[in-house]
């Protein structure tokens, strides 16, 4: 299969720094002393905890039930005892905490019984539920549940498998492809089956010749519908939209899914996890993580999910002048606020950073509108315009200039001669817009609640008046029926009183219905006060009426 390659505009070529960690095979990380397994493993969804402190669990045992449309199951990464269920910090720029299951391994690493899924015998829905039950999510970083993506629709033309790994320093996908190419492609074929794709294109940046060779060798046994395609090394070629563009020429706009355009994309790590889940019934409990940067022994390790970074780093031996740690790559990663954060399904790399390797940027200078950022932007935005608008808090204009098409790849900030932290400005603007949106929704709700309260009070008043009128009419009818004067002097006054009350109520009701109230134009506060006073007055009237007979 000969594939014509397309390009995307922009992109940058940072130093790749792949050789540091790509030379040695994946090693199995030793059993950590404890595992902190966050119940939040897929995007926007936290699983419901199924275990109690003190409970013994086996490797692969279900410890969290996915909730909602984006939920996936969470499993124990090894056998041991649940010692605590408590919030622990996660790897996130904000240092957010999330409910986590802490497991003390027993060292036996004993698997729970698991059986493969015989794909041809089950329905598509069952297969999707199986993936969900195995906790398979996108391992490229975003953690989007695979069963949701697969379930997105059939009639997909092309399945893209993302082995581009365009971020500098990271080599976990490279090693995975070199060492486990048949497994990765097996997963790819399963995914192809599930989405009904006609062809599979595996995109690998051409700076990984060994991985390409291994994958091509494995693909040659799988027939025609699959091709391993070297793509030019140009960051961010591994961005989902960029890779789809390069391999198929299709451009997927922000907010749209590949399914709508007949393309679907999965990371090689995800494909590998799908293979393990279907062919062995193994839930996702470990992944390959690159340890690199300013360390003595850079390399790739097969790590149990929940292993804390501090423990993991000992394997690589950070050097003395390490001043911070970056999770992910240097273009889009986050600086770790705490080394107690655990490895999750999206953790591909931990970089030890030293001032020598990652020097702090020189002081920021004013933007000179040189346009280097626009030429580097893979989303073809005008980053400097977004910068000016974000800086001026002109968020409407920023949105008009497609702020939300920004994928935060960092190319603009990478090339900026004024060293402006451009992406920070976009993050700020996006955060502000989201916050305002939430605020607006909240105030809309409050207004609706207040309006409904007014409406309800008004309605209750009318109902009361109607009731009163009905009562008066009843009394009148009674008088008319009997047609005799009251037997007792005290009773003689009653019908008269009732008649007057009835007339008054009628008049009031009519007035309320016909004339506009002069209070309608007043502010919400004043109206609320009036409503209050009216309510009190009605109450008094009611009391008077009750006392009267």
């Amino acid at each position: 299969m000969i594939t014509r390659l397309f390009g995307f505009k922009g992109g940058v070529k940072p130093e790749s720094h792949k050789n540091e960690s790509s030379g040695t095979p994946i090693q199995k990380a030793p059993m950590p002393k404890r595992l902190v397994i966050p119940l939040r493993q897929s995007i926007r969804s936290t699983a419901r905890c199924l275990v109690q402190p003190g409970q013994k669990v086996l490797k692969g045992e279900h410890i969290g039930e996915g909730e909602g449309g984006l939920g996936t199951s969470v499993h124990a990464s090894t056998s041991g005892t649940v010692v605590e269920i408590a919030p622990y910090p996660m790897a996130h720029a904000s240092g957010l905490e999330t409910l986590s299951v802490v497991i003390e391994p027993d060292g036996e690493d004993r698997w729970i019984d698991h059986t493969p899924l015989d794909l041809p015998t089950v329905s598509r829905e069952e297969a999707l539920a199986w993936l969900r039950g195995c906790g398979i999510v996108g391992m490229g970083g975003a953690g989007f549940p695979t069963h949701v993506k697969v379930g997105g629709g059939r009639g997909i033309e092309t399945l893209v498998i993302n082995g581009a790994e365009c971020e500098p320093w990271i080599t976990c996908d490279d090693r995975l492809m070199r060492e486990r190419a048949p497994e990765v492609l097996s997963g790819a074929m399963i995914l192809r089956e599930l989405i009904g794709a006609k062809q599979v294109l595996v995109g690998v940046e051409d700076n990984k010749p060994e991985a390409i060779a291994a994958m091509q060798a494995a693909a040659s046994t799988l027939g025609d519908g699959i091709a391993v395609v070297p793509v030019p090394t140009l960051y961010p070629a591994g961005g989902e939209k960029q890779l789809i563009r390069v391999l198929t020429g299709v451009e997927i706009p922000q907010g749209k899914l590949g399914t709508d355009f007949g393309v679907q994309c999965f990371n090689v790590g995800t494909a590998h996890a799908v293979h393990r889940a279907i062919c062995f019934g193994e839930p996702l409990v470990s992944r390959v993580v690159t340890l690199t940067g300013n360390v003595a022994r850079p390399g790739n390790y097969e790590v149990l999910l929940g292993t804390q970074v501090a423990e993991l780093l000992e394997l690589a031996g950070p050097k003395a002048d390490t001043d911070r740690y970056i999770m992910g790559g240097p273009m889009m990663g986050t600086e770790l606020q705490s080394l107690s954060v655990p490895v999750t399904k999206g953790t591909n790399c931990v970089i030890s950073a030293s001032p020598a390797l990652f020097p702090p940027p020189p002081p920021e200078l004013p933007c000179i509108r040189c346009g280097a950022c626009a030429r580097a932007c893979p989303a073809e935005l005008q980053p400097f315009e977004l910068y000016w608008f974000s800086r001026a808090k002109n968020f409407g204009k920023a949105q008009e200039y497609h702020l939300f098409d920004c994928i935060e790849c960092g190319c603009c900030a990478f090339v900026c001669p004024s060293r402006i932290p451009l992406v920070d400005y976009y993050r700020f603007a996006k955060g502000e817009i989201w916050a305002r949106e939430r605020e607006r929704q909240a105030s809309d709700q409050a207004r609706e609640r207040f309006e409904f309260r007014n409406f309800r009070q008004e309605r209750e008043k009318e109902e009361k008046a109607a009731k009163l009128a009905a009562k008066a009419a009843e009394t009148r009818a009674k008088i008319a029926d009997t047609g005799e004067p009251a037997p007792a002097p005290t009773e003689a006054e009653d019908p008269k009183k009732a008649l007057i009350a009835a007339a008054l109520a009628r008049a009031k009701q009519q007035q309320a219905a016909v004339t506009p109230r002069n209070t309608e134009d007043l502010s919400a506060d004043v109206q609320a006060e009036i409503a209050d006073i009216d309510a009190r007055r009605d109450k008094l009237n009611q009391q008077d009426a009750d006392k009267a007979p």
Partner: protein
């Protein structure tokens, strides 16, 4: 805390400005060796005035001096002005022009990156309006010896008639007012013409173009503006020349004269005050060429690049707003 990206290309504003200065070197060499060596003195005067002016304003504004002084942007403005001004302009006039550019046009608008107008061009226009006589004394190439040049620059007696000369553009313009004169007859009678334009002066054009190629190769400027500017200038001058070669100079003359080459690679390409979108750059630069040609051929001034630049600087927001490129994935959308 520093957020991603944690790595940066070793690019700097200083590097960009330095590249522009390097790109000006071929033209400076030609200027000093072929036309008037005193230009080197003028460059020094302009540089000192620019740095002094910048330092003064920064101090008044309470800003740190070092980052702004070392970014070399003021030096670029100074060099461009020194190359635009007549070489025998008195030192104080050069300094005044530079101060107008730095203090009024750059810093009063907020400093580097904030000025809506090209500082060098505003200063040039201000000077030509304020000192029309001084600003139109152009010696023929090699006409004056260095001592005379230096004397004139440093404030010696100015015997206007002895040195009163005119640029090629000026000569053609005034010459054509005489009844019966044609471009050819003017160029033939005047000994100050070389192959296509002013003798000696015409060599500046390829020198500027050479520097421009360097900037293109370095990625400091994009092809859009020089191509659009030179293309439009050549097209409109060719159109008039083909219709009436007696009264309109050739495209080659227009490209080699005045500020055309300097403008194409160093002036219209100023990022701060110019259009930024690819289509906008084409429109911006081509419009400058058209306006400049109209001023050259039909206006009151012999050279129009500076005025044209300012006129189009005003239009930049409008041009940019209406030429926003389509964004990845939105190609089918209605163009804004």
């Amino acid at each position: 805390m520093i957020n991603s990206p944690y790595i940066r290309k070793p690019a700097s504003v200083q590097g960009v400005m330095l590249a522009v200065l390097i790109a000006l070197v071929p033209a400076i060499v030609v200027y000093a060796s072929q036309i008037a060596a005193v230009v080197l003195v003028n460059l020094a005067i302009a540089t000192c005035a620019a740095l002094a002016g910048e330092a003064l304003v920064l101090k008044l504004r309470g800003r740190p001096l070092a980052p702004a002084l070392s970014d070399l942007s003021a030096v670029v403005t100074a060099w461009l002005l020194a190359l635009c001004f007549p070489p025998i302009l008195p030192w104080w006039a050069t300094a005044l022009g530079v101060l107008i550019a730095i203090v009024a046009v750059k810093h009063l608008y907020g400093g580097l990156g904030q000025n809506p107008f090209n500082p060098a061009m505003v200063a040039y226009c201000a000077m030509i309006v304020a000192f029309p006589a001084l600003m139109s004394q152009w010696p023929a190439a090699g006409q004056l010896d260095f001592a005379t040049q230096l004397g004139l620059v440093l404030g010696g007696a100015r015997e206007l008639d002895a040195i009163a000369s005119a640029t090629a553009l000026d000569t053609i313009k005034t010459g054509l007012r005489t009844a019966g004169a044609t471009v050819e007859s003017i160029m033939g009678q005047n000994g100050n013409f070389g192959f296509v334009s002013g003798r000696g002066w015409e060599w500046l054009a390829p020198a500027y173009a050479l520097g421009g190629m360097y900037l293109l190769a370095r990625g400091i400027i994009t092809w859009h503006m020089p191509a659009a500017f030179l293309g439009a200038l050549a097209a409109i001058s060719a159109a008039f020349w083909l219709v009436d070669p007696a009264h309109y100079a050739s495209p080659l003359f227009h490209l080699a004269s005045g500020g055309a080459m300097l403008g194409a690679f160093f002036i219209v390409t100023d990022p701060v005050s110019g259009a930024t979108t690819p289509r906008g750059k084409l429109i911006f630069a081509a419009s400058i060429a058209l306006v400049a040609y109209i001023i050259r051929s039909f206006g009151a001034f012999p050279e129009g690049v500076a005025f044209a630049v300012l006129l189009l600087n005003i239009c930049v927001p409008l041009i940019d707003m209406n030429t926003q490129p389509q964004v990845f994935g939105h190609r089918g959308d209605k163009a804004r």
